[in-house]
């Protein structure tokens, strides 16, 4: 049963991202804050650190490709970044103690990394001209806060779900 729930949740999160980005940017005072939902990558980090790197990379490739084709119209950015982030998460989690707290922190760190890399990429190909400081204050910090809320709300759920699948697999189902 969990076997089907795991990809299903990834699909749901993929579709929820653009729905939540409809609320962004928000204006507080004179500054526009951009919130970028990064739900899929948070979920993939959980899969990579608790379940299976290969699965995470495959999901990363698939959803990255969809993301590129549907939203960005430049194929190759997220198709590359998603699996890379999964791989990095896997490498890091092997070095530290694997508790829910550290995995949550790791997924947040990976959101920062993904966001920074996408900024570097966007400025490289001229999609944006904002400076590093503006990026930090108006984009990175609000994004991290928004995703932190998401991680706190759903981190336990993801962990339990993925863990259940691992147990099921060990039982040979």
């Amino acid at each position: 049963m969990t076997r089907f729930i795991i990809p299903l949740i990834a699909v749901v999160l993929f579709f929820l991202e653009p729905v939540f980005s409809l609320f962004s940017p928000i204006e507080l005072g004179d500054v526009r804050y951009t919130l970028v939902p990064r739900f899929v990558i948070v979920y993939l980090v959980f899969i990579a650190s608790y379940y299976d790197l290969r699965k995470a990379v495959l999901y990363g490739l698939f959803f990255g490709l969809l993301y590129d084709m549907y939203h960005i119209d430049i194929i190759g950015i997220y198709t590359f970044l998603y699996p890379l982030i999964c791989f990095l998460a896997f490498v890091i989690i092997r070095q530290v103690h694997r508790s829910t707290g550290t995995v949550m922190l790791l997924s947040l760190f990976m959101v920062v990394l993904l966001e920074t890399m996408s900024y570097l990429f966007a400025s490289l190909i001229g999609l944006t001209s904002i400076s590093m400081e503006v990026f930090m204050t108006a984009r990175l910090v609000p994004t991290v806060i928004a995703n932190l809320i998401f991680i706190i709300l759903f981190g336990w759920l993801f962990k339990n779900l993925v863990y259940k699948r691992v147990v099921e697999k060990q039982a040979g189902m």
């Binding site: 579709f15 653009p18 609320f23 526009r32 939203h71 960005i72 194929i75």
Partner: protein, 297 residues
Amino acid sequence: MPRFFSNKRLILLLVGVIVLVALIAFSLKDRQSANLPEKIVKDAVGFGQSLFSKPAHSITGFFDDIDGILNTYEENKTLKARLTEYASTEVELGDIKEENERLRKIIDKKDDLRAYDPIQATVISRNPDQWEEKIIVDKGESQGIKLNMAVLTANGLVGKVVLVTKFTSTVELLSTENQNFRVSAMIPGKKDIFGLMEGYDPERGELIMKRIDSGFDVKKGQKVMSSGLGGIFPKGLLIGEVTEVSTDDYGLTKLAYVRPAAEFSMLDHVMIAKRQSATFKGTDDPGTSATEGEDGS
């Protein structure tokens, strides 16, 4: 310490990087049209997306309704105050419309740049990594939508269609930083002032109207609308209001900062304007930008 990169992984990574660069170069070249696999993916994902977005819209719509009810009393007061004014304006407008039609008949002019058929569309997603200001709506080629058509809300112009598939279309908003995004605009008055909406100042949150002839006197507070001269946009779609006038980098033409009339966040329903008179390729069409030159003022 385990080795992260065995030979096999290193080769895989290198091949991956090469494929990535090739793919990016390939897809950066032509972003105006999508090839067949892209179109299929867009339509399929767009269908799934609309299953999620439409309930979300109804939820936000519900909260908007509550908000609306709470404000009813205040709104009613201001609306009542404006009602008398409105009645006289309406009579005047009807009169002018009739006269306009009669005069048109006299000079035998059937085409009207202002006339358009609105196509109602629902926004199904906004580009989640918001580097580009793009939204995707649930109407496409099969509903008669074409590249570069104007997209507006009740408040004014919001953007134009940059990519069309069978059942979805991608709309780039006016608040884009894309240099090749141009809209032919004018400031109506005794003498119409023409210019191009080109670029956006993210810090001020205002659009920039460039290439205004320096002989014209642009004042703060004047309204800016689409001129209909760009080829496919109808005439008279409100863009915004002039907030500041200065000269451009070379001092040859003026540029004006324009506060947009429409709100670019929280878009849910938009209209796509299908102009009734014949359409041409013009400044609204980024295909011509190459011949125009980047700063040719």
